[in-house]
């Protein structure tokens, strides 16, 4: 049986990661938990998608990473937003809001 929690909508993973890292640097597990918590368990980030996305975004220059000691005492890789990442976040937010607004208009039109 499928997990009732929605997986992250296609195309929004980058936006969610960028937005989360804009608050503070975070490791991979922290990112996944943060998105899950803020979405009240509605969105779940697959590890198999999260880590490749982080590598890809590093290649794009949107984020950087460094090894730091986590609160548990274990070394963890912390990801941080770059200036290019901040610009990308602005663009993705705008595009996402435009897409949502357009989708809403269609839905409202279909109801009327």
């Amino acid at each position: 049986m499928d997990d009732p929690r929605s997986q992250v909508l296609a195309g929004t993973l980058d936006l969610l990661i960028l937005k989360t890292l804009s608050a503070s640097p975070m490791h991979g597990y922290g990112l996944a938990q943060h998105i899950k918590r803020l979405s009240r368990d509605a969105l779940r980030v697959e590890e198999g998608s999260l880590y490749p996305a982080l590598q890809r975004m590093q290649a794009k220059g949107w984020i950087t990473s460094e090894l730091k000691k986590s609160p548990t005492g274990r070394a963890a890789r912390y990801y941080r937003l770059t200036a290019a990442g901040r610009r990308q976040l602005g663009q993705e937010e705008t595009e996402f809001q435009r897409a949502v607004a357009a989708t809403m208009r269609v839905l409202k039109g279909a109801e009327s």
Partner: protein, 397 residues
Amino acid sequence: MTLGEFWRRAAAWVRRRDLEAALTSELDAHVELLARDLETDGMSAADARVEARRQVGSTLRAREASRDAWGFPGVDALLHDLRYALRGLRRSPGFTATVVITLALGIGANATMFAVIDRLMLRPFPYMRAPSEVHGVYMRSSLRGRTLIYPTTSYTRYLDFVRTSRSFSQIAPVSHWRLAVGNGEGTRVRHVDGVGAALFDFFDARPVLGRYFGAAEDAVPDGSRVAVLAYPMWRSDFGGRNVVGEQLRIGIAQYTIIGVAPEGFVGTANNGSEPDLFIPITTVPANISPTDRGAFFTSYSWDWTEIVVRRRAGVSDEAATADLTNAFIQSRRAQRAINPVLTPDSIAKPLAFEGSLRSWARVARIALGGRSRRHRLAHRVRQRREPDVRPRAPAAS
């Protein structure tokens, strides 16, 4: 892909093994943190560990997907395919040998053809000034229903063209021979070009030693027996020493070496017949046919001279053809005075025109189907000497 991304990917590709190890460790940490949280929620340590591992699933997929960000997936795929193909080829050596030999022959043939075309058709003669202005002269006439086109004519006709034509700033005669050169056991058959002194003025090629011969040394009835060595022969036969003033037997006569042409200088010789030395064209008849040389500059019966011209600025194709044809007709008139049985112009329909100095260019134009009349005519050029008199009357002319 931006330049920055290219460099980041390239750097990641170099460190891809380290990055993969780091990712594995990061995924392990992820499982560990998840297990700890599940334990906090009340699961036993063992169950939490199993559940965390189940939720994260195989780390293989994440590692494989991450590799796409390290380096260049297209290149990696290509290398992978290449390795696969090489393994296959290693397993069947017979097939491999066939493929390798076929490819080698194909590439070799193409490279050779390109070199030939480049050398023979595209590249101008070394040192030639404004090569696009320089052409060879061809003549056409009909005889007994056959139309002949020929690039060689008599020296007398060349002199007529010099006197009569108006479209050219430079004009020079050239003839190609194979003669015995040297003394005693050192004698070899060499390519010898008998050329007019004016030919050297077509080029910006300072001699590396001595000088070229001048008009005074290339005059009828007998030119001076002087020779200019081509660079390769100077190096191979004389070791590059100062040879000016030395004697050299060429054909049946002794010549004095007066200079050495620079490296690569071949005059207007085509590939495969680069001259080893240059001598005044007016010394050739005495050398080739000592008993019958007297009238080479007054008779029309010996076709051995090619004519090289440089067209004046502003003269069109049509004007050059008209001028050359007029010179040809006048020359034939002079010839008819000596030899009254020369085919009448109404039958011979004489025409003279400019064409390429490259023998292969003519062949290529046949293959490509030249557009202009000049080119169409050049298709039918006969390399061998063809008479334009009827009947041939060597004694009478």
